[in-house]
Symmetry: C2
């Protein structure tokens, strides 16, 4: 119901909507878009997607993300031109691969003067998931569409990306996000499920 209310209040009237309500409307109305017009994105649009992604919170403010932005049609074809989703990738304005460093440098516990040591980063996929969600929301906010195609933890999908782009040894791809101008009629889902909320006890 809230979804409907927010949609109605933002889409139909010219009455002022608060910044907060507008943001909530974008969150509630974001949908997965898999059908694109083929139109290119501007550099400003791409920058905004990436700035939103990098505004995500990260454990210990490590910001373990890296982004491979594929706009070259030959590379899109080489990497994503097979399979039943090939047209989705072909018609996107860009394909953004959200990657993360799976290790981080840490000062050994109890040894404040020691040199930092490379250790596994157990939060990289959480941090990069937040970045990817921000990117999806920033697409919606700009009137674009996008969808999260999973890479991690699928070994085969990750290996293809790692190999083609020669990712550094500790970097893995988390999500492959085609972004573009929507050309279909994809709608947001109402996923509100109050039975999944447990007050003070399970």
């Amino acid at each position: 119901m809230l979804l409907t209310l927010l949609t109605a209040s933002c889409a139909q009237t010219s009455a002022p909507v608060s910044e907060g309500d507008a943001a909530l409307s974008v969150i509630m109305n974001r949908r997965s878009v898999r059908t694109f017009s083929g139109e290119k994105l501007s550099q400003e649009q791409i920058d905004m997607l990436l700035k939103a992604a990098m505004a995500a919170p990260t454990d210990g403010n490590v910001q373990p993300w890296e982004f491979v932005v594929v706009t070259d049609k030959d590379i899109v074809e080489a990497v994503f031109g097979q399979g039943r989703r090939a047209d989705m990738y072909r018609n996107a304005g860009a394909v953004i691969i959200v990657c993360g460093h799976t290790t981080r440098l840490r000062i050994p516990r109890g040894e404040p003067d020691a040199a930092p040591v490379e250790t596994p980063n157990g939060s990289w996929y959480e941090d990069c998931s937040c970045a990817a969600e921000n990117l999806l929301l920033a697409a919606e906010a700009q009137g674009l569409g996008a969808v999260w195609m999973s890479a991690y933890p699928n070994e085969q999908k990750m290996a293809g990306i790692v190999e083609y782009f020669h990712l550094p040894a500790d970097v893995l791809p988390l999500a492959i996000i085609p972004v573009g101008y929507p050309a279909g009629d994809e709608q947001p889902k109402d996923k509100w499920a109050p039975e999944k909320v447990h007050y003070n006890k399970w």
Copy 2:
């Protein structure tokens, strides 16, 4: 710079701001808030946080999330009343624990008529991270503050939550999010790092 521009355009003028720009402003200006006034949240505020969380995308639309919402001050004290962050939890209006099902039911591949089998869900922490990020943004959008305190993959932190709340066998806590009225001066960070963007090749 964009951060500054968005802040300026939304905070200082009464000129109409598009829904999209307002949403981008909330994404860019969200900050981690760890200082709260002690004021309670309304049911409407809590519902909005949870609805935003459940609007996140999930792999195969599985929606593996569950939410434990702690508003009972005795329970907050029992679970979070120790340690250097105790006051943060005490003064939050609610502590929302974002949990996820680590397994999912799947029809065995190539056996469309078979009964679904419980299998590991390798995407639960990505899906639930998106839900948690939406929740953080929905707090910011409502003029509230929040911060992601990690549970997963810290065995000790997870065990305390699992035990106290008797979480079901396949459910783990991902993030512990105190939400409330900000009482400090926490500011957003500018994390824009163009060197983390790789066009068409690493």
